[in-house]
């Protein structure tokens, strides 16, 4: 299955404090929490295809973890049927 992906983010893993708040805040639900921890012992978000570049994660993140980008042209990313 192809997922339309209008944007993407960078995640500053070491800044993250693992609060999980970005996860439900992401409208298309394309963030999940890692299984590993960062240097301070916190889990952090992982991005999956389908980001819209909406900035919701950036706005709610208390720790300045996300930089958000919008693609000039949306792309399609492949995901397995769920």
């Amino acid at each position: 299955m192809k997922v339309l992906t209008r944007g993407t983010v960078t995640v500053d893993v070491e800044q993250c404090k693992g609060c999980d708040m970005c996860i439900p805040a992401c409208p298309p639900g394309v963030l999940s929490m890692s299984r590993e921890v960062n240097g301070r012992g916190y889990r952090f978000p992982i991005l999956h295809p389908g980001c819209t570049g909406c900035q919701a994660c950036q706005q709610i993140c208390p720790d300045w973890v996300f930089e958000v980008f919008r693609y000039e042209e949306p792309i399609e990313l492949e995901v397995p049927e769920s």
Binding site: S32, I46, Q55, E67
Partner: protein, 266 residues
């Protein structure tokens, strides 16, 4: 968060995209001297701070702004804000802001206070300053607890709220009722703008940012005292997991301290 999502492939997020893309918004809020934030995981205070800092830049008043901070967790922002700052004592920020503004009428002066600072220790300060119509902007970060001291009841804690010293929930009979401070301030003649926002969801954040904008604009136009209350999450002081913060806020504080504009002077 559906469990399904974790099954999907992972998009790399270490670097800027290699495809044609433009950055939207800044990673770090503007006017910061450091990316480090000394707040608990899931704290709403830095989120609220971003709404202020972005507005100062967007209104073009950053270079004349003075912050007067109260004492609470947000006090930690004193070192990181690239803004001329007077650190006030607990509760006293509105008076300090008054002194600054009267001597430097061209500056844009705002206070940043918590509910403990403003509605407990300094309730009188903010009301008198508002009634005086002092041309400053007061911003309240209301999390319904003294975060800094470990989550005790404040004058805004809602009935039933579990805090460190109301462990079975705030009980009206013994502990009294919460004060809806924005409603009180809106009663006073000296005020130009009063609103209450929140940072528990991206939508609420966007609305809050507009409120802060209007409040600062009132000061620019010298229309009187302006005030924005911002409900912020304090998972530490609420004794809940960080992820539950936004919903808890909506269910408790948000039901009593309801969002919206309460006074807008034309």
């Amino acid at each position: 968060m559906t469990d399904a999502i974790v099954e999907r492939p992972i998009v790399p997020t270490e670097h800027r995209p290699d495809r044609a893309a433009h950055e939207v918004g800044h990673k770090v809020a503007p006017l910061l001297l450091t990316e480090q934030s000394h707040f608990c995981p899931g704290c709403g205070e830095p989120i609220a701070a971003r709404t202020i800092l972005e507005n100062l830049v967007e209104l073009g008043v950053a270079g004349q702004s003075v912050a007067v901070l109260g004492i609470g967790c947000y006090t930690a922002m004193a070192s990181s804000f690239d803004i001329d700052t007077v650190q006030a004592l607990h509760g006293r920020a509105p008076s300090v802001a008054t002194g600054v503004k009267r001597m430097k009428p061209d500056s844009i002066v705002f206070t940043l206070q918590g509910d403990g600072d403003m509605v407990n220790e300094g309730l009188q300060e903010v009301l008198h300053t508002a009634a005086r119509g002092e041309s400053v902007t007061a911003i309240l970060l209301n999390n319904g607890v003294f975060g800094e001291t470990g989550g005790h009841m404040t004058a805004t804690s809602v009935l039933g709220q579990r805090t460190k010293n109301t462990i079975d929930g705030r009980d009206a009979e013994y502990h009294g009722y919460p004060i809806r401070i924005a409603d009180l301030i809106a009663q006073l003649d000296g005020v130009a703008y009063v609103a209450r926002g929140s940072v528990h969801s991206p939508g609420a954040i966007a609305k809050t940012k507009k409120m802060v904008h209007k409040a600062l604009q009132m000061q620019v136009e010298r229309k009187g005292f302006s005030f924005v209350e911002i409900l912020t999450m304090c998972p530490t002081g609420w004794f809940i997991p960080t992820i539950e913060g936004p919903q808890y806020m909506d269910d408790t504080l948000g039901q009593v301290h309801t969002m919206g504009e309460l006074e807008v002077r034309g």
